[in-house]
Amino acid sequence: MRLLKKQYLRSLLAVLLVMAAFSLSGCDMFDKEEEDGDNVLYVYSWGDYLSEDVIKQFEEETGIKVVLDEYDTNESMYPRIAEGAEAYDVLCPSDYMIDKLIHNNLIQPLDYNKLPQAKANISKDFFEQAKAFDREGCYTVPYCWGTVGIMYNTKLVNEPVDSWQILWQEKYRDSILMQDSARDAIMVPLKILGYSMNTTNQAELEAARDMLIAQKPLVQAYGVDDIRDKLSSGEAALGVIFSGEAINLMKSNPDLRFQPAPKEGTNVWIDGWVIPKNARHVENAHKFIDFMCRPDIAAANFEELGYSTPNTTVREQVEEDLGEYVDVAFPPENVYKGQESYSYLGEALDKLYTKLWLQVKVN
């Protein structure tokens, strides 16, 4: 009898659960239908790359509902766009990836007449710089930028750091951190050797590889995010990092200093807004991109995230708060002018890069 009761209770519970699930998913379906109307925008961007308040403000001002998905590498974003599995309206890839998307006919030209804020506030220098990957200058609006530089610990490094060569010095054995990605790693010796970081010359690339192999015994580790922790804790003396991470690192450990552009030259990276070919809300996408270029919005994004912005109106708004870090956040012209940005080199070169990097790693 007791058993029966128990079973009865159990099945009742099951029915209730199923009903709850249905009513929930029912709500979801209802929402989706509403979303599929005109006033939605599907954004696919880097993780932690947009202030939540800014998105809320955009929704309030325009009545457009934003659905935000995030990725953590360009490479994990690409297949989802290439396979067209999801129809996003706005993306924020990096330079060479924008080039690849253009090359494979996956994004559409922007209508700059619908982007007055972008025209007014985004520095001409950066539209010019973006031509390294957006050759016709009609696919992208730069959103964030930075350089690849050397972060060093002044307690462990007692000399000026102005050259990539310091990463090949025997006295820093086991204290050097390098980027664990083929292009960012190979870029460094290419610049030391005086070659372009977009070279397609196999001999030049092999020379760069040989330098990396020679450097390997001195390297403590190849990393991506872990480079930050190891520099911050003083585990390493020198590390190759992206300038966007510099301010937070220097705040976490006051012994750290940043060289944004070693004298041999470095990479200027740009992440920009683009609209995929299969976007369903092109109008809204333009509104969103233009909104991001508004002075108050760009400043809000900057204050929360700390990445250098090509928006010329931001510096004066936030200069006071930044204090000594202002030159790190807004590198002067001589830091970025004349530097190269990555362009897409094609599938064959991609494979060559992967292979050369593998040869360094197994050595």
Binding site: T73, E75, S76, Y78, P79, D174, D180, S181, A182, K216, V219, Q220, A221, Y222, G223, S233, G234, E235, D350, K351, T354, K355, L358, Q359, K361, V362
Partner: protein, 279 residues
Amino acid sequence: MNERLSSQRFLALPFGLWAALFIVLPLFFVLWNGLTDGAGSFTLENIQTVLQWEYLKALGLSVELALISTVICLVMAYPLCLILRERRENLGILVFVLFLLPLWMNSLLTTMAWQTILEKHGLINMFLTWLGLPAVQIINTPLAIIIGMVYNFLPYMVLPLYVALNRIDDSIIEAARDLGANHYQTLKRVLLPLSMPGIISGSTMVFIPALTTFVISALLGGNKVLLVGNIIEQEFTAAYDWQLGSALSMVLMVFIILNILLEAFTEKEERHQVEKGRP
């Protein structure tokens, strides 16, 4: 009888479906990717690529480190399980549970803990400097990876060994003693052969995850020591070359299948001997 069979079949249906959907089908995808080019036509190019020296070198290193870890695990676990066999009361179970404890924690967490132990300014080196001794360089070397593997996979060796040794009847050992065998002879001629199934399955359970790991080598090797698992991960995530990644997985599977065949073979041999011994 027939009815029972059909109801058995019915009960096996979920597992059959599971196996088909989540084991056989993915395996087929790997084979498909490994043996075709991007456009979907048959090619052996991927296999040829992964047989170049860069890949073989990483494969060789993976096999080497996995073998060393397996041997260390075996050498550590066997005496322990012998001791545990002797004392089956509460203490034995307590020690046994202690050795399985690392399994309850996320392996990523335990591996990161090892990072802070082995680091340049980690616990070991802090202790050594405190004693006035020179610091040692362990992190980002193959040794650090072996330590991580042994720590993470030791429970998989202890478990089958403990079971195998505990299954041996005390009277068999007493008989060996009665017939004049000393400790060493009992171990070599009675305990070792009888616990062979445990040794083999324990070794397999350590060797295979050690061969395929990429987390341990990434965290404790500083990405400087490249194992096959790391290359496969890179091919799938960074290089977006699923064909090459799959081909590499296929080569790895050859090793795993060899290992499993060895296990199956020795088990069959075992059963054969048992049957022969029983007239």
